[in-house]
């Protein structure tokens, strides 16, 4: 299966060529090479997927980077169900979004740059998922972070975009620091950075404890928590979630590809990849579940208060990522991956739909503000239809992708062996309702009612996007429906192929039911399904009443509970809290250090303290006549004398 | 063994000391005993008995240095020819070739100086 090396390298080649020659030679044709390369990656990934389904596996090193005794670092590929699934998904979505961008980025002066960056991103992401060792995982991890930084700040002339890029970069550094420590600890513990070696020997540390600041901690807990720090940064989980909503400053295809479908799910992928380590530690699993629940709930409460269409979807992404971590936190890794997979399709579709709407509204001063939209279904039917499918899918309406994956998570958490399973189920069900509500709030505010943006558009009519944008929407809409059918549960007459496919890597969760309920397993599952569907339908219904039937109800919450509304509208004040507790003190300390230490000690002390030797001053000839060369010789001679004295000391 | 080896050099040390002491003594005794009657001619620079004309710290044309350096280079290189010539019949053909190479390299330097106008006064 050596051909898999071309899956990441095709986009890399395309990115390099586009980056070097784009500005002068390729310019408006810059999309060809990346699109073809990514399509090639997709075909190869699909072939790899078929091969893996046929039973093939591969684990090989392309070449060794550094070999030094026990430390062996290489660029290598591990092709198993988990990685091949990610490869196929990433390359497929990346291809669609490349195509969509041809239309979306049409008149941008940085056209070639954009395509070079997203191809580079595709390369990094494919390297990340196909790695066979932790170091390459870390490399991909940093590389996707770098691309994300470049693309958030793509319109770097805009101050908000530059700030958002910086914020994403800095917040991710916190997570990555922990992640790097985790990788280092893995190497120290197992003496290898290969997944194969590490996971084969992971049971050896099942009872090993280490002393951290006086507290005995399971070594597995320590490693898992450190690794999870990275996941919290990359997948924007509480408390490192603050960068993702701001990242919407980037171009919309970027939001769809990087900040919804692929990069932000890298954390989930990593947790699943390392599930052997996480499973050793209940504490780590609890932390994963807790982070997931808090993020899931928090984001779902913030989303209904926002008016920026992309921000609502961004909070929705946070919330759905929370679902995935909740699944991981109850040991249902395959369910988490399933949700990751279906979510990638419907969330990319939501973003691209939003991008299509923005394309229509681009004459408005703020093309993302939903208060100036409304009634758009008349102007852009394809966008409306696809957006609606995605919203139904995310709301968990039966038959669509989101329904199957979400119910898999809820069911497996309800019957989980972990004590917090029921809590996870409860939070998940509540959030399912909230999700349906805010998703349809967007649908109704944008596509229903009267068009409210006549004045801001200055006479321009909103219009449907070109077919280069709508065709990807339609393909994704198909994906947002059918991807769910890969994992139809047994209770609905399916075979749950998805979980079976991943079972060799991820295992399967233990179902923990009281024995007297065991026979009624199917009924419970159906009952839970009914609850979540009911909650979802209820959410849609409430949204319909509030935003279509009786718009005056919209003012109910802000007027009755102004404090609560302000709290939610200001995103639980996390930005302000971080600003007060971390950003400001850091700036203050840094400034004090710079002024106090660097200026007064380094500059004053060193420069003025060792005058002629290091200060560049005066004209050169004067120094020569000053006899400095004699000083030089004197210093040399002194040094020689000292070295010669060493002869007698040693 | 070690001690006796060092002892062997003791006479040299003593000789060096005696020489040093005598030299120093002569200078000091001169300073102490000699009469001091300075007059202006004694402070003048010595120019073979003639009254000095102009400053002693006098700037020379750089060309003198250039010629002097060229002279020194070729003169010193020529010295290498003597030991070669003396042992010519013993070291044979190999040394002959070596000397040809050596002179060829000298010629390169010579031509270089010539081309760059090193031999022209103006």
């Amino acid at each position: 299966m050596e051909y898999v090396i071309w899956i990441p390298f095709l986009p890399l080649i395309a990115a390099t060529i586009t980056l070097i020659f784009g500005k002068w030679y390729i310019r408006k044709q810059a999309h060809w090479l990346p699109c073809i390369a990514v399509f090639g990656s997709f075909l190869l990934s699909f072939k790899a997927l078929l091969d893996v389904i046929g039973g093939a596996r591969a684990n090989f090193d392309l070449y060794s980077w550094v070999i030094a005794d026990t430390f062996h670092a290489a660029v290598g590929f591990q092709i198993d169900p988990l990685s091949v699934l990610m490869l196929a998904m990433v390359s497929f979505l990346s291809f669609l979004i490349h195509v969509y961008s041809i239309g979306y980025m049409e008149d941008d002066p940085g056209y070639y740059r954009f395509f070079a960056y997203i191809s580079l991103f595709t390369f990094s992401m494919l390297m990340l998922v196909s790695a066979n060792n932790f170091l390459q995982l870390f490399f991909g991890w940093e590389a996707v972070g770098l691309c994300s930084y470049l693309l958030i700040g793509f319109w770097y002339q805009k101050k908000s975009a530059a700030d958002a890029a910086k914020k994403a970069f800095i917040v991710n550094r916190f997570g990555d620091f922990g992640f790097a420590l985790g990788v280092f600890l893995v190497f120290l513990t197992f003496g290898s950075i290969y997944y194969e070696d590490v996971f084969a020997r992971v049971h050896e540390i099942a009872h090993t404890t280490v002393n951290v600041l006086g507290v005995e901690v399971l070594l597995a807990t320590l490693i898992a928590v450190l690794l999870f720090c990275g996941a919290m940064g990359k997948s924007a989980q509480f408390p490192l979630h603050v960068w993702l909503p701001d990242a919407m400053e980037g171009p919309t295809p970027v939001s769809a590809l990087i900040h919804a479908a692929t990069m932000v799910t890298a954390g989930v992928f990593m947790v699943c990849r390392c599930h052997e380590i996480f499973e050793l530690s209940h504490v780590a699993m609890a932390i994963v579940a807790a982070a997931g629940m808090i993020t899931c709930f928090m984001a779902a409460t913030i989303a209904p208060t926002q008016f920026d269409i992309k921000r609502v979807i961004a909070y929705s992404t946070l919330s759905q990522l929370g679902y995935m971590f909740m699944a991981c936190g109850v040991g249902a890794f395959a369910a988490g991956m399933f949700h990751l997979f279906t979510h990638a399709f419907f969330k990319a579709l939501l973003f691209l739909g939003a991008g299509s709407v923005m394309h229509a509204m681009h004459h408005a001063p703020d093309p993302t503000d939903m208060r100036y939209m409304g009634g758009l279904r008349k102007y852009m039917p394809i966008t409306f239809a696809t957006f609606l499918i995605a919203s139904l899918s995310i709301s968990g309406i039966p038959g669509l992708a989101g329904f199957f994956s979400k119910d898999e998570i809820l069911w497996l958490s309800f019957v989980s062996e972990y004590p917090w399973g029921k809590l996870v189920w409860f939070v998940g069900t509540v959030v399912a309702g909230l999700t349906a509500f805010y998703s349809f709030r967007v649908v109704f505010m944008t596509f229903f009612g009267e068009f409210r943006g006549k004045e801001v558009l200055h006479g321009h009519e909103p219009h449907e996007s070109p077919s280069v944008m709508t065709i990807p929407l339609m393909i994704l809409a198909v994906g947002a429906v059918v991807t769910g059918w890969l994992g139809v549960p047994h209770v609905l007459g399916g075979h749950n192929h998805f979980a079976k496919f991943l079972e060799p890597v991820l295992g399967h969760p233990h179902i923990n039911l009281p024995y007297w309920l065991y026979g009624k397993k199917e009924w419970i599952e159906l009952f839970l399904m009914a609850i979540s569907v009911g909650v979802g339908v209820l959410g849609i219904a409430v949204a319909y009443v509030v935003y279509v039937k009786k718009p005056e109800l919209q003012r109910l919450i802000p007027e009755r509970y102004p404090a609560l509304y302000r709290y939610l509208y200001n995103k639980w004040y996390w930005d302000e809290i971080y600003d007060a507790t971390i950003v400001k003190p850091t700036f203050f300390t840094a400034r004090s250090i710079v002024q106090g230490v660097v200026d007064s000690i380094l500059i004053e002390g060193v420069v003025n303290g060792l005058p002629d030797l290091i200060r560049r001053g005066g004209e050169s000839l004067r120094r020569l006549q000053n006899g400095v060369v004699q000083t030089y010789a004197l210093i040399m001679a002194t040094g020689a004398a000292v070295v010669l004295l060493l002869v007698y000391f040693f | 063994m070690e001690i006796s080896l060092s002892l062997k050099y003791i006479p040299i040390l003593i000789t060096a000391l005696i020489v040093f002491v005598i030299g120093l003594a002569m200078v000091i005794i001169n300073q102490v005993l000699g009469p001091k009657r300075p007059y202006s001619e004694k402070y003048l620079a010595y120019e073979c008995g003639l009254p000095p004309t102009g400053e002693t710290r006098h700037r020379f044309d750089i060309k003198f240095y250039a010629i002097a350096i060229l002279f020194a280079v070729f003169d010193v290189e020529a010295v290498f020819l003597y030991p070669w010539a003396i042992t010519f019949d013993q070291i044979g053909f190999f040394a002959y070739i070596e000397m040809v190479v050596f002179i060829a390299l000298l010629l390169v330097a010579y031509f270089y100086a010539w081309i760059r106008g090193g031999f022209q006064w103006d």
Binding site: V66, L613, I614, M636, A640, V643, V647 | -
Partner: protein, 477 residues
């Protein structure tokens, strides 16, 4: 008659360089298009590089050996020559020193270095060192209308002569003790118990440390280097920062590792304090520099401190690490200096660090290339600089010098600051003036070679590491 002549095949590369250099020095007057000299230099270096790989054997009564150890260093010297030649046409035309003698002097200097790397006799080593040094003194003074150039070259020359005296004294002591100047024979005569702990031998080793310390600019014998680097034409500075330094290390390998291997417990003790002081002083003084050439001078001092760690390890692995370090250092240093040459205009030096302010906005490509070199100089993976540091640190650590390695890591943390300051200026500040860059096809090619070298060797260093290991295998019995 001709058959009685010994074979000179082993020195054919050097002979080629000397002949071509002589012809170029003479031909300068009649050649109007001076770029021709650059072409000839590159062609000659490439041919010499091929020849270096082809020839082997010993000549001149075994005082010169074309062995694999010399081969590795000759590869460094000739690559440095090629890359410096690529930098030169554009820059030298701008400052008015674009002529045949320049290239001839470069080639003479490289010949001297090659003699040093392959010498099996201390006298030949001294001869090579002087040939190299005299050529470089003249090169440093080429901008003779610029007082800085003259001053730097003058200091370099005076102090260089001073250090040559130390070298001769060291050779004299060794000759007095062993009765020979042949490195092989000395290596056989120095052993425990006996000559290896003789005080006079240790004095000789200490004097070698001083003399080579000067050539590779170890503190406190580095005093000449910031002035000489700043004053010399930048193309020459690039050459000085790589060539003579690598040659100094080649000679160190010959003397310390090959000849005095059995006395290693002692000379290692002299080198350790020097290495520590070098790394820290270089790193700290780089912080306060405002001129980029001076900054890179201190940077090259610091890097000499790292490279010497491999010698201190006194093992095959250590020597291989030092050789690898010098090979990687070649690309990043000449690359960084090449970028510095781009900003030189007739009436504008472009050497102040503040000139780089906002470079990413005005010349994003130049800024990116500089960023790669700076990251490599700091030692951030996956650039070549990281690989180099990793292996020297590892070699020193395995040799048991744990505290030294901790010191080296600390020093490299300090040393990162001045480079990152430039990065900060380039990427975080708004440009104040619009700099013109002077990119010729030559320097463009040179920059591509350096960037590719820095990145490829950072990602795939294995062949070079293995080659270095093979090359220094014959050094230690």
């Amino acid at each position: 008659m001709w058959s009685s002549l010994p074979s000179f095949v082993a020195v054919y590369p050097e002979i080629l360089l000397v002949v071509v250099a002589s012809i170029m020095a003479l031909a300068d007057r009649w050649v109007k298009l001076k770029d021709v000299f650059a072409w000839i230099t590159i062609a000659t270096s490439v041919i010499a590089l091929i020849m270096v790989f082809a020839v082997e054997g010993a000549v001149f009564g075994n005082s010169y050996a074309a062995d694999t150890y010399g081969l590795f260093f000759k590869m460094i010297f000739l690559l440095a020559l090629i890359m410096v030649t690529l930098v030169s046409p554009g820059y030298n035309r701008m400052v008015g020193i674009h002529f045949g003698e320049y290239y001839a002097l470069l080639m003479f200097a490289v010949t001297g270095m090659m003699l040093m790397a392959s010498s099996k006799d201390l006298i030949l080593l001294f001869l090579g060192l002087e040939l190299m040094s005299l050529s470089v003194y003249v090169l440093a003074a080429l901008l003779y209308s610029d007082l800085r150039s003259l001053e730097g070259a003058m200091k370099y020359f005076l102090l260089g002569a001073f250090s040559s005296a130390f070298l001769l004294l060291a050779i004299t002591f060794l000759y007095g003790l062993t009765g020979t100047t042949y490195i092989d024979v000395i290596a056989k005569k120095v052993f425990y118990p006996g000559l290896a702990d003789n005080t006079a031998l240790l004095l000789s080793a200490a004097l070698f440390v001083v003399a080579f310390g000067f050539k590779v600019a170890l503190v406190p014998f580095h005093m000449w280097s910031p002035d000489a680097y700043e004053g010399a034409p930048t193309s020459v500075t690039a050459f000085m920062a790589v060539g003579p330094k690598a040659a100094g290390f080649a000679a160190m390998g010959r003397v310390f590792i090959e000849a005095l291997y059995n006395a290693r417990v002692d000379w290692v003790e002299y080198l350790i304090p020097l290495a520590l002081v070098t790394m820290f002083v270089g790193a700290i003084l780089a912080v306060v520099q405002t001129n980029i050439k001076r900054l890179l001078a201190y940077s090259s001092i610091t890097h000499a401190g790292y490279a010497v760690l491999g010698i201190i390890a006194a093992s095959r692995e250590g020597m291989a690490a030092t050789m690898l370090y010098l090979f990687l250092y070649l690309f990043m240093t000449i690359g960084a200096f090449s970028v510095v040459t781009l900003f030189r205009q007739k009436d504008f030096l472009g050497e102040e660090i503040t000139d780089y302010q906002g470079l990413s906005k005005t010349h994003p490509w130049v800024a990116l290339v500089m960023l790669i070199f700076l990251f490599s100089l700091v030692g951030i993976p996956p650039t070549a600089g990281f690989i180099g540091k990793f292996f020297v640190f590892k070699a020193a650590y395995e040799a048991g010098h744990h505290l030294l390695v901790i010191g080296a890591v600390l020093a490299s943390a300090i040393a990162a600051y001045p480079y990152l300051r430039i990065v900060m200026l380039m990427y975080m500040k708004e440009p104040e003036k619009d700099l013109a860059v002077n990119v010729t096809p030559y320097v463009f090619a040179g920059l591509i070679i350096s960037v590719v070298g820095v990145l490829i060797l950072g990602v795939y260093p294995e062949p070079v590491i293995n080659f270095a290991r093979t090359c220094c295998a014959g050094l230690i019995p």
